[in-house]
Amino acid sequence: MREKLIEKGLLLVAFSAVAMIFLIAYLIFREGVPLVAKVGVWDFIASTRWAPSKGSFGILPMIVGSLEVTLLAVIIGATLGLSCAMFLAEFAPRWSVRILKPMIELLAGIPSVVYGFIGVVVLIPFIRRTFGGPGFSVLAAAIILGIMILPTVIAISLDALNAVPPLYKEGSLALGATRWQTLHRVVLPAARSGIIAAFILGMGRAIGETMAVIMVAGNALTMPTSLLQPVRTLTSNIALEMGYASGDHQAALFATGMVLFVIIAILNTIALVIARPRT
């Protein structure tokens, strides 16, 4: 009897994560949906005019901004991250991997505001000097986010590469392939799903990041037409205006969160499908 009660209690506890995700979705949608219904779905996501005091709520520039910054960040983070993971998995001596891996994981713990700050004091002046423009830009945000997601991408793709059964590798090497041929033709394809999952998780981190982006992106309300122009992302829009918004304006920020929520749900679903172990 007592044992049964404990089991039921634990089941209830175990469902709290599920309950929480639905509660989060419910509360955000409840605040956001009425506003979207009022201004119209199309006008909300496809209008370029955001002027809350005049009742215009168009978030297209921010959707484009978020996607542009995220895509570029993933290209940077994936290229560097996968190179690093391949080097550590196949070429670097074992002892160095044992030291470097925890160090890289440690870097994932550094607060995002610190990355943003480094962007402001080092990267922005550099971009301004080299390419001109204000410095606060799509490019700056993408570089900072690309660096921020590196530890995630490296750690997960390294795990994926190491999880490839050594037999595959030995078979290829025994046939006379070089280590690079083996890595490129055997190990990489075998680890593909894990590596793609690493990229998508990095993408999720990049698109959801707020504080670092606010600090370096410039937050202008215009449609970004060049990489050197300032941009505002969905997340920064929420964080910048939440402090003083009320009424419809506040609802519009929740609706912005709703759009972000949907984009992330789609990304995560893709990641889950891809990363699912083949049976």
């Binding site: 989060i24 550094i110 607060p111 995002s112 959801g208 972000l260």
Partner: protein
């Protein structure tokens, strides 16, 4: 031009080595830069003094206290829920639709960006439940943010406990709940603690959630219902409003040191655990 395979390999080796080196240089530059600019700011007066003129001068004691309170509160709430979930998943069920739903919930929660947690905590705890901006609202919201980490690591730790140990307990007449409390959990403790400590690290580093749920008051928090400003939020405000670059570097360095300590402890626990398994 066709290169011989070994020549190719050499080229690739250099390319990958260069990229790896570049990555490491960038990452360590960040730590080195903050350390070199912030080290001289950290004095006893900075650590234990009250802020003056909105943080332009004086110390950061209230933000350190707020950071400790809020992250302890977050793990105090998240640990029982996370470990309970993990115990249920590992000890009471096989793989089934129910476990798949629970795992889906944890995975989905792990993917929610912090700004959404911020909105959620603001509307639920701060507004609906009338907690106002407070340590309690911040701690509760952070708890749900770190819950997936704790579930995942506890699950791995519990699964790693050898099955024989449970059988011994059963053979001595131990009930299932006794076996879990006296045998499984003590053996899984280092792994569980690793998850808890990593969750604490995330709470310390978090800005977006805290600014929406705990506010940014610089006063010393006296109770759980007081608003407070954590170190990460303080650093963000110092840097963004250009109040004091000096103190921003100092606070950033302190944050990095805190994260470093937290991670080292977590890593040592994990190391002990994996060594014991062998």
């Amino acid at each position: 031009m066709i290169l011989r395979p070994l020549a190719w390999q050499r080229i690739v080796w250099f390319a990958l080595a260069a990229m790896t080196l570049f990555t490491l240089v960038v990452l360590f530059f960040i730590i080195g830069f903050i350390t070199s600019k912030g080290a001289h700011v950290i004095t006893l007066k900075f650590l234990f003094g009250m802020p003056e003129r909105m943080g332009k001068e004086g110390g950061i004691l209230p933000t350190i206290i707020a950071t400790i309170y809020i992250s302890l509160l977050a793990i105090a709430i998240a640990t029982p829920i996370g470990v309970g979930s993990a115990v249920y998943l590992c000890e009471y069920t096989r793989e089934s639709p129910i476990t798949r739903v629970i795992r889906f919930g944890a995975d989905a929660l792990a993917g929610v960006p912090s700004i959404i947690f911020g909105l959620f905590g603001f509307i639920l705890f701060v507004i609906r439940l009338r907690m106002g901006w407070s340590l309690l609202a911040g701690g509760l919201t952070l708890a749900f943010m770190i819950l997936p980490t704790i579930i995942r690591t506890s699950e791995e730790a519990i699964r790693a406990v050898p099955y024989n140990l449970r059988e011994v307990s059963y053979s001595l007449g131990g009930a299932k709940s006794q076996t879990i409390v006296r045998v499984v959990l003590p053996n899984a403790l280092p792994g569980i603690l690793t998850g808890v400590i990593l969750g604490m690290g995330r709470s310390v580093a978090e800005t977006a959630v805290v600014i929406f749920t705990a506010g940014s008051s610089l006063l010393m928090p006296k109770s759980l219902f007081d608003p407070a400003r954590t170190m990460a939020v303080h650093f963000y405000i110092l840097a963004r409003e250009g109040l004091s670059m000096e103190r921003a570097y100092g606070t950033a360095l302190l944050l990095i040191i805190a994260i470093l300590l937290i991670n080292v402890v977590a890593y040592l626990l994990m190391y002990r655990l994996t060594r014991k398994m062998r």
